[in-house]
């Protein structure tokens, strides 16, 4: 069964980190991705550009409305995702708990509809 792990964290924290800390962070994610591939859980995953680069589109009454970034008031932002394959929720939660982001942010684990 596939689960989407949505990685939420405080985006501004990245900017406050030193270059060495940022490099270490990137290393941790690379190691985590490699682990997931080795264990067969990995389907895909990407880091997202900052919320400041986001645009929200809505169609209302046939008219398109466009606004910048979502939910600026929330403390944590969506910063990336992993799509994983796991046999059940317990396994998915185990996998998610090992993600570097779980230590400073939070991870929402969502099952996909099976097609």
């Amino acid at each position: 069964m596939k689960y989407l792990c949505l990685l939420f964290s405080e985006e501004a924290a990245w900017g406050r980190m030193s270059k060495a800390e940022q490099d270490a962070g990137v290393q941790q994610y690379a190691a985590y991705s490699a682990d997931l591939k080795a264990s067969g859980h990995y389907v895909t995953g990407q880091r997202l550009q900052p919320v400041s680069s986001a645009t929200v589109v809505r169609m209302r009454d046939g008219k398109m409305s466009t606004t910048d970034g979502p939910y600026a008031e929330t403390k944590e932002q969506l910063g990336g995702y992993y799509l994983i394959e796991a046999k059940d929720l317990n396994e998915a939660l185990q996998v998610a708990s090992r993600c570097p982001g779980a230590h400073h942010g939070s991870i929402e684990v969502r099952p996909l509809f099976e097609m």
């Binding site: 046999k87 059940d88 929720l89 317990n90 939660l93 099952p111």
Partner: protein, 452 residues
């Protein structure tokens, strides 16, 4: 056929738990359980009761469920090959959903004899323990965990659960439906958690088991004070948990339940009336349960960290250790309540502490504390706060106030025997008020639920 009723009462939830594991779905398992008992009703009167009724019921239920799924799958295939108007999406979607369930179940290999016996071996293999960890999964909202466990593991009706938690029945029904959907959609597995997750998962399980015990020990309404089956079930489940994980809090909860249970026979009179702790015939207490409970308390208090269940068990053990109520070591009990109120600063713990202080230092001290708690408004709807207050007022000779407090408690009492008890108290006060002589009544501990 009373034999079958007996089997139903004893085995239905175990059979259900095993069917949930085998079929992977609550609703399918419920249907299969029903079919199995229908089959038993038809066959047992002529063929006789099988040697192992539980295995027979599981095997029959599972067979019926798979048979029904195969028929449905065949029907769906026939439907798909027929010229069904393509617009009928509802039927097509339904067929797809059903087939995926059928495939999953049929993929399960046919049951062998060794599998049949494997169901019943060892505590780790207990399907109800597995099911309780599923029902208490942290991915489910806390109120849904309790409702689901009582419904699916213990077989309580939605209405009974609603009464136990003072919540409307449709709310409980909705919680259960949503929880079941999440179990299915997010695929929450039927398993005892891995050792590294066990400790954190245990806390919710302990609270649920204690609620089940209390529902059985002191049913929230109806004409019977005690419902032995539920309490026995809770103790049985707790023994399994203790075997799996002998943490101090697990030992403490098992001890607490055994010590309460030891007084079951003594807490109601032959005519079904409530008998308070102080008035109970202590020869009717179950010595074996007390000894087992007291030994568990010693083990629990020797471990770290000491938690609320271990402390409550220690308090129950002090009561159980007193040969008569006047010999109760109230100083020890007050000390334990002070420890407990630091760990768990709830109004109910504060109320129990107030009653213990009243027993040690006299009614005036206790009354002041209870009035403080009531003034905060937290327990104004709690029957036992008012009846405890009434008792202290009675002992202080403040009859009119005592009567008013008993009447307030009476309006909040849900159980008939408890209502009768409170009415007797009121009558007694009214009769006494008519008398000239006023004699000091013997002091008694009264009306604190966790002590009775």
């Amino acid at each position: 056929m009373t034999g079958l009723e007996d089997v139903y009462r004893r085995e239905s939830r175990r059979v259900f738990a095993t069917l949930v594991r085998l079929l992977g779905d609550f609703d399918l398992a419920e249907e299969a359980l029903h079919d199995a008992f229908v089959a038993a009703m038809e066959q047992w009167p002529t063929d006789g009761v099988p040697a192992n009724p539980r295995a027979w019921l599981v095997s029959t239920g599972r067979f019926r469920a798979i048979d029904a799924l195969r028929k449905r799958a065949r029907f769906d295939r026939a439907l798909a090959s027929a010229h069904v108007p393509i617009a009928d999406h509802a039927i097509a979607d339904h067929a797809i959903a059903d087939r995926s369930i059928a495939d999953r179940s049929i993929a399960d290999p046919e049951m062998t004899d060794s599998e049949m016996t494997r169901w019943q071996v060892g505590p780790l293999a207990d399907d109800r323990l597995r099911l309780i960890f599923t029902c208490c999964h942290p991915a489910l909202p806390p109120d849904a965990r309790v409702a689901l466990t009582l419904r699916e593991v213990c077989g309580l009706t939605t209405e009974e659960i609603a009464r136990a938690f003072f919540v409307p029945a449709p709310t409980i029904a909705q919680r259960i439906v949503r929880a079941k959907s999440k179990i299915r959609d997010a695929r929450i597995p039927y398993q005892v958690p891995a050792r590294e997750d066990l400790a954190e998962r245990l806390d919710t399980v302990l609270h649920v088991i204690y609620l089940v015990f209390n529902e059985g020990y002191s049913a929230t309404s109806g004409t019977e004070v005690t419902r032995g089956t539920l309490s026995t079930e809770a103790i049985r489940l707790m023994r399994l948990v203790v075997e799996l994980l002998p943490e101090p809090e697990c030992l403490g909860l098992l001890a607490l339940m055994l010590l309460h249970e030891s007084r079951r026979d003594a807490r109601t009179s032959a005519d079904g009336e409530v008998v308070l702790l102080a008035d109970q015939d202590r020869h009717r207490w179950d010595r074996a349960a007390i000894d087992e409970g007291a030994a568990l308390v010693t083990r629990a208090l020797g471990g770290r960290p000491v938690g609320p269940f271990a402390l409550q068990a220690a308090i129950a053990a002090v009561h159980a250790g007193a040969p008569e109520s006047t010999a109760t070591d109230w100083d020890e009990i007050v000390g334990l309540y002070e420890w407990l109120v630091r760990l768990e600063p709830t109004p109910i713990v504060a109320l129990n502490r107030a009653v213990a202080i009243a027993m040690r230092d006299g009614p005036t001290a206790g009354l002041a504390l209870i009035d403080e708690i009531l003034a905060r408004g937290e327990l104004s709807e709690y029957q036992f706060a008012h009846s405890a207050r009434a008792d202290l007022l009675r002992r202080l000779g403040r009859r009119a106030e005592a009567e008013a407090a008993y009447r307030r408690a009476l309006t909040l009492a849900a159980q008939t025997p408890e209502q009768r008890f409170l009415r007797r108290r009121i009558e007694m006060l009214v009769t006494e008020a008519g008398r000239e002589d006023e004699r000091e009544r013997r002091q008694r501990p009264e009306n604190v639920r966790s002590h009775s």
